[in-house]
Symmetry: C2
Subunit: 457 residues, 2 copies
């Protein structure tokens, strides 16, 4: 036989069993989003490259999958183009569209495009795949799902609190212990100002974001390499050493960056937010992490990151406030805040921790044996009745040997087989075989649903 066909690197097929588990995650997230009044939208898989490019940095631009223009794309190129332009510039001449890289930029585009139809504050959620031409590796795919919730058109810190509650509710329902870490970009700006390196804010946030992973010395080395002065580094060290309660760390930090108006605004925002979370009776651990940065330059206020306890896997949810995301599409002054759940990583964590125990399932609740002839007519009409009562019912399609049919039901994990042969039909009964125990019961057809619910179906 020929070679087995395959699928592109970094992509996946999902079998019924995997999909049941994935749907369990999606449905949990969706139901929590909805319980807070978030409404679903969907955007196309393809966006114009003008919408996507320049929003994710140079590296992001390189990772966007581009779609070749249909038809005679070469006619747009001159001989000079071909000989002088490199692949990167040429691609912009032969591709107008790209695959969605995340859900945030398409959402910003959506808000600007549909702003006249929307009622603000607008709470939306979106659960769709995104694509990145990243090097595939364990836990990193080229096609993966994001589950985003954003509130746009309100700068109240209650929105941040609401999103933290949503994170709490989702992971509580999934029975996954997590730690929610919170910081504020304005505090990071205050720190940069305090150490006299405001111009290097991006380098500084990128470096200190790695503190937990690489340690203090490596962070200092990276900052030195970026040109941060020894004097600035000395002023920075106390930030790494802060400890105590959230309020005492916030007070200590407020003293340090007392000269930065922006920094103090950030401290005050964090104080308000923690006053909400501390009274909120949350099951998840919520903590302040003054080094958290998440590298995304569009964050302007709160920064949120969620890690699973008990598993080393990086962030499984994150987000923050952005004051001007729609500005890139010509609608300035609209503040938003959002979070994004990484469904694929959550799936991996839950697999590792065996948290899918309750997600079992089979194709059907019952299978009716096919004996052909008159018995088949009886079976077909019984199937209609059972389905009408909400019982997922399979008919075995062929009048094959009983052994073969039972063996199919067994392999397909169907919990109950219904046998209605000539004898049973004459007696006005059917035989229910409970596959897990092998037990057989004669019941009258009207009692089937009662017996099924007795055994938990």
């Amino acid at each position: 036989m020929a070679n087995k066909p395959g699928i592109p690197k970094g992509t996946r097929d999902f079998s019924p069993c995997e999909l049941r588990k994935r749907e369990y995650i999606f449905n949990t997230i969706r139901s929590v989003f909805q319980s807070y009044g978030y409404q679903q939208i969907e955007t196309p898989a393809m966006e114009n490259l003008t919408t996507l490019l320049g929003k994710y940095g140079d590296e992001g631009d390189r990772l966007i999958f581009r779609i070749l223009n249909s038809g005679d794309f070469m006619s747009a190129l001159s001989g000079e183009d071909i000989s002088t332009l490199g692949s990167s510039k040429l691609s912009q001449k032969i591709c107008e569209k790209g695959l969605r890289y995340d859900l945030t930029v398409p959402f910003a585009r959506y808000v600007v495009q549909h702003r006249e139809e929307l009622v603000f504050p607008f709470r939306r959620y979106q659960i769709q795949p995104v694509w990145r031409a990243d090097r595939p590796q364990k836990g990193r795919y080229r096609e993966f799902f994001q589950c985003d919730a954003d509130v746009i058109g309100s700068d109240s810190l209650l929105n941040e609190y609401e999103l933290i509650r949503i994170i709490n509710d989702v992971f509580t329902k999934l029975k996954l212990s997590v730690q929610i870490k919170i910081n504020n970009r304005k505090v990071l700006a205050g720190i940069a100002e305090y150490i006299g390196e405001s111009a290097r804010i991006t380098d500084i946030t990128v470096a200190i974001d790695k503190l937990e992973k690489v340690g203090k010395e490596a962070v200092n080395d990276e900052l030195r390499a970026k040109g941060v002065s020894e004097k600035a580094l000395m002023k920075l060290q106390p930030v790494f050493g802060l400890n105590g309660s959230v309020s005492s760390r916030l007070s200590a930090m407020a003293e340090m960056i007392a000269g930065s108006e922006t920094g103090l605004k950030g401290i005050s925002e964090l104080q308000t937010l923690f006053s909400f979370t501390e009274q909120g009776n949350l099951s998840a651990a919520v903590d302040l992490d003054l080094t958290l940065a998440r590298g995304l330059n569009y964050y302007t206020g709160a920064i949120i990151e969620v890690k699973a306890e008990d598993v080393a896997i990086g962030s499984i949810c994150g987000g923050g406030r952005y004051d001007d995301l729609t500005g890139i599409f010509g609608l300035p002054g609209v503040s938003g805040v959002g979070i994004s759940f990484g469904a694929d990583r959550i799936y991996d964590v839950m697999e590792q921790l065996n948290l899918f125990e309750e997600v079992t399932g089979s194709s059907a609740d019952v299978m009716i044996v096919n004996f052909g002839g008159e018995e088949l007519k009886y079976a077909l009409s019984l199937a209609v009745k059972l389905r009408a009562k909400g019982i997922k019912t399979e008919m075995y399609p062929d009048a094959a040997k009983l052994k073969k049919q039972m063996s199919y039901a067994d392999s397909a994990n169907i919990p109950v087989v219904i046998i209605a042969g000539e004898g049973e039909i004459r007696a006005g009964e059917v035989t229910l075989k409970i596959m897990s125990t092998g037990e057989q019961r004669k019941v009258i057809p009207g009692d089937i649903t009662d017996v099924l619910s007795e055994i938990g179906i």
Copy 2:
């Protein structure tokens, strides 16, 4: 302000209101698929071009969206390639992947790739978008959803009957009157054989498929133009004129094509299938249409097509049996039969016929007014309690003027607003304002859910 950003031609954004209607269609289809024991799979948006090309004819190949290879794609090209190859051949050198064009070919690829994990007969369903670089027009999009159900690994005609029942159940639940038309590819082969033009079977099926649309004369003209002889045409005419009951038309046809073994096999399959549907007590009209062909060359047995009554829109669901679809991927001899619902056309039909009346909905069931301060603390804790009881609850994020908050609730179609001001809290009550009538009721917090269910929430 800058130009509004847009999305690629032929693609769509879906707003919350549209999505609620679409989800209603998807959930209806999904629940019927599941009630028959079909299991969901998903395949990647991108497939290798080797999987896709050559499966949909030349026109189909042209309509596949191709994804530019990442990185330095030009390095794969020689100067000679560029100057001698046209766009079509060049695209195969700079693109390895394409977007899924339908769900059937990826499913065939899936079955071959995963055959060792599957239990046959394998009933699967799949609800995912597909992409075609077609010219966009009313009702035709470049990104649209297909909802497919297939049974693979069984050649029993009960599968065809099951799929027809599924079609019946879906449209009954959607309250959409439809006509289900059935034919059999073997009968078409028998007709071609009978008129002595077996070699022209494809031309013949393409032409007579248009009978209803263009009339008998135009079909004859097309056949003449394709080189079908006058003698053959004369033998063909009675096929167009058959009438009477299904069984009388089948008998008449059987007499005509009595010399074709394949044709008679097709007649016999149709007789069996109609014997099932006639006893099946279906709500949808099921009829024989001996000219139905659906142009898809991979069909080898039953051909199924569904049209909406009362609306001129073409087919909204179709399918058929294919005896060798997995053969193209190296696994011959596996028979399958499947149907595909066109969710976008079903949506359009239901909009035209006003069938979405029951699909209403708002972001939330209730909104709690935000008065700030101590009242806010009370409100936040009330929101937690209501959500825990399954009430979708929004908090207005800012302590804005009451009028502004009420006006938001009104615009967002939130049916009930909860007012818990200082006075109410002291009295141990809240005020429920029912937005449709303006009625206000004082209730104790523990009674809110009862009052809500009283008014149908």
